[in-house]
Symmetry: C2
Subunit: 151 residues, 2 copies
């Protein structure tokens, strides 16, 4: 028995793919179903990836349900508290947070401790980032950056 | 960069641990914080496990917030549609579903196709089960079993 993936629903696949690419993941597989009017997009971190087109060791699956053909409004995907977050280990948490911030992502819980940060996807899925190995020495702008919202 | 875990919040840790053990995962790490009044329980599938006490390749983290000392009611963890499910590959989907059913778990989406099933944790986190390799030949009681609820 083995873990395969965590699936999240997305209202804007391009925005969510852009978020995960900024974070450092890459799209490894994608399936678009004209008949079912949905797209499944699988992304993975570099250390989990087995190459383009291959199932990675651990994937995040984005499910995008296409707009209804009759023009009826798309479902809004609210969050729920039973789900917590997805967690990734990163090589340098300051560099990852800087790249996300430069890309317009709010750092909800900045890595003040050089160890842990939280951000959210465009559909408010919480993502935890954990520094690989020992925590980094405290550094600005992170050390004095306040929390924003919840995560 | 590497995937670490998916965290879910639980209202009854023992019930959720029992659910995941029935599914085939094992607890690999646990941390109880008297000061913070919470418990973190990490479980992993056998193929992801690195042994007792070791961080597994892919973990599910259960967060249990202890009841408030002042007796105020515990938070109810409702679900949200932005989160979809956790997925695991299993060696024999019929055996896994039988074991879960014998343990009192509702098979929301039975493996009629010998390939895919869905169940839910006690806090309604959806779990997808996928048959390893080729789909199994259709077999009862699964082939004629209707869906129950949503997943």
């Amino acid at each position: 028995m083995r873990y395969l993936h965590t699936m999240i629903r997305v209202t804007d696949p391009d925005a969510t793919i852009a978020f995960f690419e900024l974070l450092g993941l890459r799209q490894v597989r994608r399936m678009d179903s004209e008949q079912g009017r949905f797209s499944l997009i699988f992304l993975a971190a570099d250390e989990d990836s087995k190459g383009q087109g291959q199932r990675a060791d651990a994937e995040v699956e984005l499910t995008y349900n296409w707009p209804a053909e009759d023009g009826s409004p798309a479902e809004i995907y609210a969050g729920g508290r039973n789900f917590g977050h997805l967690a990734y280990r990163v090589d340098n948490i300051y560099e990852t947070c800087q790249r996300l911030m430069d890309g317009g992502v709010t750092i909800n819980r900045p890595p003040r401790d050089g160890h842990m940060a939280f951000v959210r996807t465009p559909d408010n899925i919480s993502i935890e980032l954990l520094q690989a190995g020992d925590r980094l020495a405290p550094a600005e702008p992170w050390a004095s950056m306040p929390n924003t919202g919840q995560w």
